[in-house]
């Protein structure tokens, strides 16, 4: 009943697919199509997170009053500790900005964050991506940094209206510019497809780096905000003949366990770009002014 048609249909489908792949991968023309398809698929993403939400809901049904009270007490104690730390932090940040003013350095603004929840993981086991429940409707943009309570998790790869896709720092195509917190030594931290292990590359074998050193984002490259903890140096291997030492680091963020994440909005980066554009347009008008008489 399908006679010669299947072969023709297969041919059609293959030609269409190749055209789509080339358009998407080489020229990036299909982002709007992908985004709208992703928006229409958001019920599926939501359904995917239902079993998980159901188990937490059922668990919350069977929690006793005593447990809740105990939890409340520990939380209040923790709140006190954190508030004390925040007080100290406020004083420190005021002092820091005063010192920066003395140095004529640009002031550091606090980053604004919004909270999102992980609602799905990528079906492809060879890419480390998760899906979060905030999208372009909430102002999320491609390239924003994602944190959890312990450190940097990754960056936004693409957005649809209600969800966004986050590339984790452990993905083999991901790199973060970092510095050693102790002495400011700069390096690049690469993901290698292992969720518990990152690679610090191109560190000369005379560099001052030790096991247990904290690596924080350096803010170079302009994509990630400066000063968030990323990983901790786990092991260092020196091979006498090699030019660089082999360093593996353990990510601070709980990449495979965190449920709640923070999306960082960098106020100062946007402002700096605006200023840059203003300067450019200013120089344009200058040139015009010189050219016109």
């Amino acid at each position: 009943m399908q006679g010669p048609i299947p072969g023709f249909r297969l041919f059609l489908v293959i030609v269409l697919s190749i055209a789509l792949v080339v358009l998407d991968a080489r020229f990036g023309k299909l982002d709007t199509v992908r985004s709208s398809l992703g928006t229409s698929l958001s019920p599926v993403v939501w359904l995917g997170s239902v079993p998980d939400e159901l188990t937490t809901w059922v668990k919350s049904l069977f929690i006793t009053r005593d447990d809740l009270q105990a939890e409340n007490e520990t939380l209040q104690a923790r709140l006190l500790i954190l508030e004390r730390r925040a007080l100290k932090y406020a004083a420190l940040s005021a002092e820091n900005s005063r010192l920066r003013e003395l140095l004529n350095a640009s002031g550091v603004l606090d980053d604004r964050v919004i909270v999102a929840e992980i609602v799905g993981v990528s079906p492809d086991p060879f890419s480390h991506e998760v899906i979060i429940n905030k999208g372009s409707r909430d102002g999320v943009q491609v390239g924003q940094a994602i944190l959890d309570a312990f450190g940097l998790m990754g960056q936004v790869l693409s957005t649809s209206s209600f969800t966004s896709r986050v590339l984790l720092i452990s993905d083999s195509s991901h790199a973060v510019p970092v510095e050693v917190n102790r002495n400011g030594l700069r390096a690049i931290l690469l993901g290698n497809g292992d969720i518990n292990n990152l690679e610090l590359v191109h560190v000369p074998d005379t560099a001052d780096i030790r096991e247990g050193d904290m690596l924080v984002s350096s803010g170079l490259g302009g994509r990630f905000p400066k000063g968030y903890p990323v990983a901790e140096v786990a092991s260092i291997e020196k091979e006498p003949g090699e030019q660089f030492i082999r360093i593996s680091a353990k990510p601070r963020a709980h990449l495979s366990r965190s449920q709640m994440v923070l999306i960082v909005f960098q106020a100062n980066v946007e402002r700096r770009e605006e200023r840059l554009n203003d300067n450019l347009s200013d120089s344009d008008t200058d040139i015009d002014a010189v050219g016109s008489p």
Binding site: R9, V33, D52
Partner: protein, 158 residues
């Protein structure tokens, strides 16, 4: 070929397979997750070749592309290929005993995975060895259950 198929069962099975292919799965077992959508394309082209064909499989593959964030068209082409291969062999496939059907599931979904990973590597992904064939194997293992379940549902509701 079934005498009747139930369209509600068809719709729900497709949505469920899409949900299963992204829902939270134990992390250590991630690479063994069956290729749910591939199984559904296999089942519905096998049981209802008149209604379910290459173009519909292609559209479903496109949805999987969006969910997986692969370049649009990669999974779509592979799904279309699976549907085509099932269409060419479905009359023989009905005569096969269950173990042989499982073998065919493994082969066709293996071809699907190979095509997907071939295109990804052409586009610059890492070489991941033969680990990508695990989903085809687990799909072959769950095939008898899926097949019996969907057959029963079709008979009851169709």
């Amino acid at each position: 070929m079934l005498s009747v198929i139930s369209y509600p069962v068809f719709g729900i099975s497709i949505i469920l397979s899409l949900v299963l292919s992204i829902s939270l799965f134990p992390l250590g077992w991630f690479e063994f997750r069956p290729e749910w959508l591939g199984l559904m394309v296999f089942y519905w082209t096998f049981r209802a070749p008149a209604q379910f064909g290459i173009l519909l499989a292609w559209c479903l593959g496109l949805l999987l592309d969006v969910l997986e964030a692969t370049p649009l068209g990669v999974n779509a082409m592979a799904m279309g290929l699976v549907a085509f291969l099932v269409l060419t062999i479905h009359q023989r496939l009905r005569m096969f005993p269950m173990p042989q059907q499982c073998l065919m599931v493994f082969l066709l979904l293996g071809i699907n995975q190979m095509l997907v990973h071939f295109i990804k590597q052409v586009l610059g992904a890492d070489n991941a060895g033969f680990g990508y064939l695990w989903p085809a194997l687990t799909s072959a293992v769950v095939w008898p259950f899926i097949c019996v379940l969907l057959d029963n549902l079709n008979r009851k509701l169709g």
